[in-house]
């Protein structure tokens, strides 16, 4: 039996009908075609599926879609505003904080969650915020440098 689900995703309201067992990540990827959100494991341990739910970074494979009913979700597709990249995205490009890119969406959304909570995080807070996100390419330090630069205010949001 499918159930009704109301979500706001990247500012757009949706009304959907989903099976009770459907995960949030499945709705985002399969129903809304927002494939920027990835899946890298089946054990909630890689972080590739991280999105922002009501301002908090969450692993969208650990949440049933119906648990997010009424929620306000931001995915990687909603981070840039039109042609203007988000400061975090600019910092990632400048610092070479991505390679294969498969973890990048989740990494950016974990970072977005951190900066939402703490606009000027410390180095340790930055490292902790992305500790749940596996990156097999970069060795993390370029990501940490990018986020540190944002924390220092080197990337002002132009909105």
């Amino acid at each position: 039996m499918k159930k009704e689900l109301k979500l706001t995703v990247n500012g757009q309201p949706y009304e959907l009908y989903v099976k009770p067992g459907t995960l949030l990540v499945e709705v985002l990827r399969n129903e809304l075609d927002l494939t920027g959100t990835k899946r890298g494991c089946e054990s909630a341990s890689c972080g590739a599926c991280t999105v922002s739910l009501n301002g908090m970074a969450v692993k969208s494979c650990t949440i049933l879609a119906l648990q997010a009913d009424g929620g306000d979700i931001l995915t990687i597709e909603g981070l840039a505003k039109g042609t203007e990249l988000h400061p975090l995205q600019k910092a990632f490009l400048d610092h070479g904080a991505l390679q294969c890119g498969f973890c990048t969406s989740g990494m950016l959304m974990s970072a977005a969650g951190l900066f939402h909570e703490k606009p000027t995080p410390t180095l340790d807070e930055i490292k902790e915020a992305i500790d749940g996100n596996i990156c097999r390419c970069t060795g993390y330090n370029s990501i940490i440098r990018a986020l540190s630069a944002v924390a220092r205010g080197e990337y002002k949001e132009q909105r």
Binding site: Q99, C100, I130, I134, R136, S142
Partner: protein, 759 residues
Amino acid sequence: MSKYNVIGTRVHRVDGPDKVTGKAKYTFDMVLPNMLYGKILRSPHPHAKILSIDTSQAEKLIGVKGIVTGKDTLGKKQGIWRRFPELCDEEMICRSKVRYIGDPVAAVAAVDEDTAAEALDLIEVEYELLPAVFDPLDAIKEDAPQVHEGVELNINVTRHIEWGDVDEAFKQCDLVREDHFRCSSQAHVCMETHDAIASFDHSGKLTVWTSTQAAYYMQVLLADMLGLREGDVRVIKPPTGGGFGSKFELDSAQFCASLLSMKLCQPVKIVFTREEEFTASKRRTPMIYYTKLGAKKDGTLLAKEVRVITEGGAYTSMGATALYLTGFFSSFPYKYPNYRYDGYRAYTNTAPTSAMRGFGAPQAVFVGESQIDMMAEELGIDPVEIRRRNGMTPNYEVPGQANIQSCGLHQCLDKIEEHIKQRGKLPPNRGIGIAAYGFMSGGIFNWFDTPYAFSAAVVRINIDGKVDLFTGACDIGQGSDTTLSMICAEELGVRLDDIRIHAADTGICPPDLGAWGSRETLMNGNAVKMAAADAKRQLLEFAGAKMGANIVYDLDIKDRWVHLVDRPQKGLSYFDVVKEAIRGKDGEAIMGRGHYTPHRKGMISPAYSFGVQAAEVEVDPETGRYKLVNVTTAHESGTVINPVGIEGQLEGAIMMAGGYGFCEDQPMDNGKILNPSIGDYKLIRSLDMPETKILEIDTYEPEGPFGAKEAGEGLTNPTAGAIGNAIYKAVGVRIHDLPITPEKVFRALRAKEQARSSK
């Protein structure tokens, strides 16, 4: 001012904007109209005969569209060592026998993944269990079960390398050490698992989108295994979520999706689960090392003898190359006048072992660099000094094997020595260990037997000056699309954003052997540079005529300005020249072609990178737990094309190679991998990552594009060895088997204490 406008500058990755905005579509993300979803049934047994397969119940399940078993295949076996048919030993769906837990026995296509998974449960396979063998040392015993019929003692491949008179040289040594080491396996853990979408149409053509390091190899192997002409198979590599050596062999996602699509004439998508990725894709080759090293009192290394037995797993895969390279790189980066290597690869009933970043060299370097530190200590010589005394130098010939041109090893040693001095006196239980290494810039061996050039590129200049670059190179995250675009822009004299790269689509790009063996920058870079030079020459012909310049003057293009080299202010706009040149060619776009195959460069590689790494650890002597504090690397890659790319390769290598030294392992029980999930397989995460530092070394490689050579895999080689040496410096225990877990350090510390107190 740099003589280059593009190379050596800090640029954004060309695929960066799509990746930071989530727009990049990986195979994993793609959906085609009318697409079906496939799943693969795999053997739960390490060794068994297949007596029968009954698919009738599964076929009845609503939503199941097709099932294939070994009977639906051509019955062929495949492998990358195509020059040696006996080493092409892997069926893509087993017909009569399974050889490891994970061997494919059937595949299903259904309307969705859940239905396909349900159908797998309904397939009845009757097996007759066979005795199995797991340890390579057991596998080579007389009475061991045979993994492949007719393969004596389960010895799959042997390799012998020798020069000088090793036995005589050992007699002249003042000190000879014999040591034994074991190197563990490692999983690649690409963030995107193996996946493929195959679409066969009624005109007989197959298109496959897949996460691969070698689109051309996949085209050739799929054509061969499916009975198609190569030209009827088009392989397209969308953005790919990592490879690290795991994605240049034909895999069961690609093959089964293709076979099902050929049967159904519908697109079929197969994505490995993370568990399949751990258990049924390939992995780093575990190795057992016996090594004997002889030196004079002054630290001159006279002779080395190495014997290696590798755990092959069920099939040859690229493990034969790993066996060869571990032997070759066991002599690196030193000038051994006498050297002997004997390697044996044993078949076992475990997941096949194969290529992984470093390709046999990280094992060789862990062993070799541990032993050389032990030798140095016994001789009372400083670790840097013993390496300096024996290290390779430019234009050195590895006897009968390789010609080294550029080599910055001694500069690297100097820089690392300086770094160690700067760290000053360390607190107790801290230590710095070093490891020196070298690596190849692409392999010369052509075991695949391609008739094509190893790399090729086409450059097309359009009327607006925009340049289309076509290459078979495969960007799997390492950044070849960016590096090759930079080489193209530099050679042509335009800007990076004038280049649009089209890569790794066998339908439109020239063949390239792919992203493995650290070959793309040098080999494909040379092809791209040649293609750009060819296109530029055509533009300069027009410009020369137009400018009426004295023919003794050379023309060049820099930053979109076509000019006389000696009088740079005299020139024409690149855009104007392009427009006129195309008109002058009767409207034909300017096309440049380039290709590269190494010739007369020895047997191994056209060029070698070198480096020295220092790892600093802090050990808790009570628990054996240790922290990687700092990893500093002096690496020389010739001219640096893409500095941001090299930093990324370096730091990423430390995460992966540090993991190999520190925590990554694949324990097994009767052939079953016990930790097939990202939660259970321990990886270095952001909080474990050490501080990393790069010490830049200038060298120039005459064989490379603009003097460049590899910077991909070599960096994976030193870390495990440097960690081992650092632990010894910190607390005086030597760990001989990887990974160097805190538990092993703890036990070694206890053993040392007991030995002391019992004295």
